[in-house]
Amino acid sequence: MRRLKQAWELARDFREGVEDPVEHAYKVLEAISRWEGVVNAYISLESPDLVVEEAERVARGIRAGERVGKLAGLLVSVKDNICTSFLPTTAGSRMLDPYIPPFNATVVERLLGEDAIIIGKTNLDEFAMGSTTELSAFDPTRNPWDPERVPGGSSGGSAASLAYGGSDLSLGSDTGGSARLPAAYTATVGLKPTYGLVSRYGLIPYGNSLEQISPMARSVRDVALLLDVIGGWDPLDATSLRVDKPRTFTASKADPRRVTVCVVKELAEGADEVIERAYWRILKRLESEGVELREEELPIASKALPAYYTIAFAEASSNLARYDGVFYPMKGGGSSWEEDVELARMKGFGREVKKRILMGVYALSEGYRDEYYVAATKIRRVLRDEVLRITRNCIIASQASPILPPRLGERLDDPLKLYAMDVYTVIANLAGVPALVQPIEFHNGLPVGIQWMGKPLGEEELVPLGLLVEELTGLAGVVVG
């Protein structure tokens, strides 16, 4: 394990002339060429010449005393379900290979507006449907900390690129834990923002009512930097909240005597023993620093996983109806329109995507709708209200994952085993609240993370707590090697 400078420190040093963006770009490109053959974090990479040219442009601007953006010279990777007009956007699916959108997602425009250099598009489970990044049409991504294991998913490519030093910052997306589970498995930090804080315009949709584009990085301060850039109202997204841009980057570490953490029984139990021990160790450490620990209960949490999957499947079946072999790259080649559509969807979708679409159609069908979809949305209401009640007075401490990163293939033969990996993370998506996952320790060389959940728009409280925890663990900026 080694430590890299945090991205915000690098950006500051570029501006002050202490570090050279071009030299840095070469270092990151070297890490990519060393690790990509094993890890497969990227689906597409920007040409190295272009990356260096962009870094030179930034360096020239700084030398000339021009005003540069907050991310000037930083290399940012972007999950491949976020639209870019200058690199293909496949969502990890043959259906969209090779789709080049005619526009950039709002978050991409905001990155470019702050002079970030987008280095490539990262691997994911097809259409973000998975928890391991094994279900990509472009081969699995491996965990840099142990290449026999998965990096979590579906934003596994983003997390892996950070974990080996192949990017400075990354954008993932999180529908049920897709940014946070990979963070827990790779010793990186992932923040699922409050629903509506970050624009979804240009995010290829899977479960609209649940998902948010999510900043990922190697430290809490870096995640805050990225959130401040991408967050805030966007007229192009009808679910975007009319709130001011977040201001989390300048937050100070929390004063432990002013923090109350709620230990919710249902979110503290059920994980493997090593994970539970790590969870209690950090909580006791925080308590010894002055943090107040309070017990809470959330009995409806036992139904969160089936409620989440019912809603996600239903939304997926609707969202993926657009892939009909006409507007997007995969063509059916049938003898009639009907056959053309069926063949395109047969060839273009992978097995897990087909299964989720079929389950979604089932959950929405006449005769089954009340039993599945409507029932799940009622559970969602109760759960949301309970989470809002608890987070009004404290930050919830939860496990991030019930297990250490599993080996490749270990969870694929049983769908319920795969879904169970999300048991702690889906709560924040159902309730719409922000949630941060950060590393707390290593066990036999594998990272263990913890999850903090706050009140709506409570990112400004999660970041200071994350900074406090980071100071105690000393795990900011770690990479393999």
């Binding site: 009808a238 969807r345 069908s365 719409g432």
Partner: protein
């Protein structure tokens, strides 16, 4: 080969979803469907005892995040990119913005 109980249902769903399945794929998906449907059905029993309305949008009528009376629409006046004729450019439809 023994067909699973959901085989006919699976064929119907595949037809509705316009996805053609090979026999082998249908067999394996059918088993998954059976297990997953059973798992998801657990929401049904508990929801019968819940006297609440469904929640489709997480900030529906709740709290400080939105004004309940506010229409849930994109306001055309807020869309920034226009063609030279003043039409709204809808980027997801492609096309290009002509120089004003």
């Amino acid at each position: 080969m023994t067909r699973c109980n959901y085989y006919e249902l699976l064929r119907k769903l595949a037809s509705l979803a316009k996805i053609r399945l090979s026999d082998e794929e249908a067999e394996s998906l059918c088993r998954d469907l059976e297990r997953t449907a059973e798992f998801l059905r657990s929401v049904s029993d508990i929801s019968k005892s819940l006297n609440v309305e469904p929640l489709y949008y997480v900030w529906d009528e709740w709290g400080p995040l939105r004004n309940p009376g506010e229409p849930r629409t994109i306001n055309i006046a807020d869309l920034p990119v226009r063609t030279k004729d003043g039409y709204v450019k809808v980027p997801w439809r492609g096309g290009r913005v002509e120089e004003a």
